[in-house]
Amino acid sequence: MGREPVAILAAGVITPVGADLESFWTSLVAGADGISSIERFPVGDLRVQRGGEIKTLPGADSRSPRGGRASRLLQAAADDLRTRFRLHVPSGRLAVVVGTALGGVEEGERALAGERVRGGAGGALYHMPAHALARHLGAHGPILTVGTACAAGATAMGVGADLLRDHRADLVIAGGYDALSRFVMRGFDALRSLTRDRVRPFDRRRSGLLLGEGAALVAMARDADAGPTRLGRLLGHSSASDGSHIAAPDPEGRGLEFALRQAMTEAQVSADEINLVSAHGTGTLLNDRIETVVLRRVLGQRALEVPVNSIKGSLGHTMGAAATLEAIMCLMAARHGMVPPTVGLEEVDPACGLDHVPGGARFHRSRVSVSTSLGFGGCNAALVLEGCP
């Protein structure tokens, strides 16, 4: 069943390759590498000690908000968004929906280490950064945190769209965030998911992912209420469960396929209308192969004709922020007529044969794009977006 599209009016970001939307986009197009040695917390005992760490965070000298660094990331993205967009609705009609894999877990680490944490252990609850963001923005509408792991940034945009369609809010600030912490570095290190090489999405030599941190937010409104100035529209969304494994994706990609088909149905978009695919593309053996299979199955021949990229080679896997950053990339690609390259991809794995964008950015006029995401717990999500050239 088709649903009313939702306008995406503006975006704001903070990432390892740029602390605002323009520098983020410029860096992606230039193929910048945001991976560096982690400096903010001890990693000497870990197998892999690199990631997409943001070295300078705006507002770092001010009083720590509840939720710690995670809240700071969100606030930095919100401040960037507000440099080009005014929150023009009454506070009670302004909603916040953000996705995360880790919330303010670092505050929990600090509390357990005996450090004084704002709000005590309650400040470490995963939904606290959303409330800190709402306070920062003066939002008194629904305040929601979505926890579909590394697909959460996409699910949050879908939930935000539903709030608008149901008139539960008139403006929604939606997106995702996550901060690098020793907690998550230890976890992925123990899983042996991190690579000692660079991140190489869809490459024959790919050997794992690297983590990154960041936040990304979009301002969304009902299409009929939005003026002509906009980044684009969210045409469709779906989040679906694999019901297969606690950590690994379903080997056949059934949950991702369901999400992608549902999102396209909601958007009333056929495979032939899609001009760009932003893949989850983590650079792990399993993810990239499964994603390729699903894209071929759902898009058919079109999967081989549409540019496919992954920005995780530039940023690392920014977890809860990833899907929203990738959605914003799709909209910027439509605006600028250019697709950023997949950094780290040099020799395409034959099992991942698609129309990849290795090397440098490609001039390409896109309008409708799809973005796919997967996460722990069998979480899958897909977005269908329409950009404004």
Binding site: G119, A121, Y126, L144, T148, I246
Partner: protein, 249 residues
């Protein structure tokens, strides 16, 4: 949305009949009312945390109470909406406390998505999937989200599940009295919704602050579980099972 089945496990016992009239009085000074680790068998549950097993057990209780078969839930026709405020705290703490590299807790179980993942695997749920993190007000939104998915034909039924555990992190909550009341009552509650109307609104099920306060006074602090307890109480008062049970006693 019409509630067609509900399953409730709390630190007071199984089902709504185990709930006290006044939590503070029944708690008699105890800070946490704990649910023991469910004794689910199977190799897949070997690594699972207590909160994961509670999620599975709540759905099993729901099916047993209603007579709905597992095959009804299986497949992409059932959406899963999961809510918690803190059910990941125990596993997070365990993982943080472990020395690097020597952990016995599998890292993916620290994610809030671990509980619904185990439920999805156990019952074969492969449909729409939303996980929300927050307190009772978030669960009211989750109910609205479930009803929205039903209304737009994204699914045929929606399983709304909430789990809260406190035993392993009770000392941490002592520093968060601004957030929680006493006693903390561990809860796992599952509600099955289908298209249609019952005596409540179709949207967020008409749960208001007054009803949540009533649940709080009666049951204790259950964070995200409170709205589903309210629905379980209402469902119990109207269900065939309840009528049969009452007639039989």
């Amino acid at each position: 949305m019409r509630v067609t089945a509900a399953g409730l496990l709390t630190g007071w016992g199984t089902g709504v009949l185990a709930l006290p009239a006044d939590a503070r009085r029944a708690g008699a000074g105890r800070r946490v009312m704990t649910i023991p680790r469910p004794s689910l068998t199977g190799d897949r549950f070997r690594r699972a945390t207590r909160e994961c097993l509670l999620g599975v057990a709540a759905v099993e209780a729901m099916l047993a109470e209603s007579g709905v078969g597992r095959e009804t839930l299986r497949g992409s026709g059932t959406a899963l909406v999961y809510v918690t405020a803190a059910a990941y705290a125990a596993s997070n703490r365990m993982f943080i406390d472990q020395a690097a590299g020597t952990g016995t807790l599998h890292f993916p179980y620290t994610a809030p998505s671990a509980v619904p993942a185990e439920v999805a695997i156990e019952f074969g749920l492969t449909g729409p999937y939303v996980i929300m993190l927050g307190d009772a007000r978030t669960t009211v939104h989750a109910l609205w989200q479930g009803a929205t998915m039903l209304r737009h034909g994204a699914c045929e039924r929606v399983l709304v599940l909430a789990v809260e555990t406190f035993a392993e992190s009770a000392d941490l909550f002592r520093g968060a009295r601004w957030l929680v009341r006493s006693p903390l009552v561990e809860t796992a509650v599952a509600v099955l919704g289908t298209p249609g109307h019952d005596h409540r609104d179709a949207g967020d099920m008409g749960i208001d602050e007054r009803e949540l306060a009533m649940v709080g006074r009666r049951v204790g602090e259950t964070l995200a579980c409170a709205p589903l307890i309210a629905l379980a109480l209402a469902h119990d008062g109207t269900s065939e099972t309840r009528r049969v049970r009452m007639a039989g006693t």
